[in-house]
């Protein structure tokens, strides 16, 4: 399973590096979201800085939808999805590989967004360990849910509109917990983020396990 996951993740990342969709479209989209939040709330950093964590994670959530849609768009051209099914790869490995590639891309994006909230909103990025831990755990949860619902939506004609409808309500615990954990870190009290990190870890484990079990049948039925 892990061998297959590495193979699929390597393929997806290679395609992304070559197509530069993440760099040229998803990255600028996420930064534009940050900028628009800034415009909507006004230039006062006393308003923006306390809202940094929430705005950061909303931008991450929206970007995840694009990342997941892109992950399945590459499988929809020239019968590649059937090629993947014919390949003999373990479906659980395909799930882990696709989710892993999304995780890598999101972590890179989150690094850029963190710089963005520091520059645009004046947020002080303190409590680095909690910030990074939150990003890693939250991103695993987001990627797992996105990859799972992405395969459901990808086989349908209404996939572009269906994925956000399925995805956003389910990941609301990640938005809440990650925002709270980041709030604590940015406020200089990272020690109080432990409970929220636990929530993120449980969510990630739950959805990774669900994906490993459910991805195969969903890939076949999609």
């Amino acid at each position: 399973m892990l061998r297959d996951a590495v193979l699929v993740a390597g393929k997806d990342l290679r395609i992304e590096i070559r197509s530069r969709v993440g760099l040229n479209q998803i990255g600028p989209f996420a930064l534009a979201v940050l900028l628009l939040f800034g415009l909507a709330l006004g230039p006062d950093r006393r308003v923006l800085a306390p809202a940094s964590a929430g705005l950061f994670w909303v931008a991450v959530l929206l970007s995840t939808i694009l990342g997941v849609q892109r992950s399945y768009a590459i499988e929809s051209v020239d019968g590649a999805r059937d090629g993947l099914r014919l390949s003999g790869l373990d479906p659980a490995g395909i799930f882990l590989g696709k989710a892993g590639a999304v995780v890598v891309q999101l972590l890179v994006l989150e690094t850029a967004l963190a710089v963005g909230v520091a520059l645009l909103y004046g947020a002080r990025l303190s409590g680095a360990l909690v910030l990074i831990g939150t990003c890693v755990l939250g991103t695993f949860g987001l990627a797992a849910v996105g990859t799972l619902y992405g395969v459901v939506a990808s086989g349908l004609r209404i996939r572009e509109t269906l994925l956000p409808l399925l995805f956003l309500p389910v990941v609301s615990p990640v938005l809440l917990a990650a925002t709270k954990a980041w709030d604590e870190a940015l406020a200089g009290t990272p020690g109080r983020a432990g409970g929220w990190l636990d929530v993120l870890a449980v969510f990630a484990v739950l959805y990774v396990a669900t994906g490993i079990v459910a991805f195969g049948p969903l890939l076949e039925d999609g």
Partner: protein
Amino acid sequence: MPPAVRLHEAVALAGRFPLLAGACLEVGEGEVVHLRGPNGAGKTSLLKVLAGLLPVHSGEATVLGWDLVADRRAVRGQVGMLGHESFLYEELTVEENLEFAVRASRGPVVGIRPALEQFGFTGRLASIPLARCSAGQRRRASLALLVARGARLWLLDEPHAGLDQDGRDLLDELLAGSRAASRTVVFASHELERATAIADRTVHLAGGRVVEPPKTPESVEQAAAHVA
């Protein structure tokens, strides 16, 4: 020796529409079988069922010893399919596509280079993204993948389509050598002259079932002469 393919009253559905409506077929190991029939007869559906891509709703279906009714995924590593689509990734080069697919099916990586060369992917051509290849080159890339994977059963849907004369001859040569390579081939083709020359036998499909060959004036005459 058990047959490589055995279908008995196999039914496959798309919603409630029967793609296969009780198809019966046996194909021996190393045999090359040509599927013939009008558009919508069920040729592509039959190939997809054999590849494990379409579920068998009822009846029996065994491919290379695997029962497709119980588990249609297990056989896929042993099956190579050439469809109307290439099943390859546009952004990857031909070589990268083959490498991914061969590694995925746990096939022999050493077979990639010779397969590429056999289908004319030498030098720079092997390392350009598939998106920049012509339709014929994509077809050649798909064929190179079949060869590199070393699958035991080839399922080909209109394999000559899009190929130039050299490509067609190369394909015919490969199919002619199937028995020697212990490879079973089931292919659908409307190119009757070529198909009949390559195949060990022709199977006729109509309405999702294997049927007797339609009667032509010549065959009626022959039958009458035989009776007389």
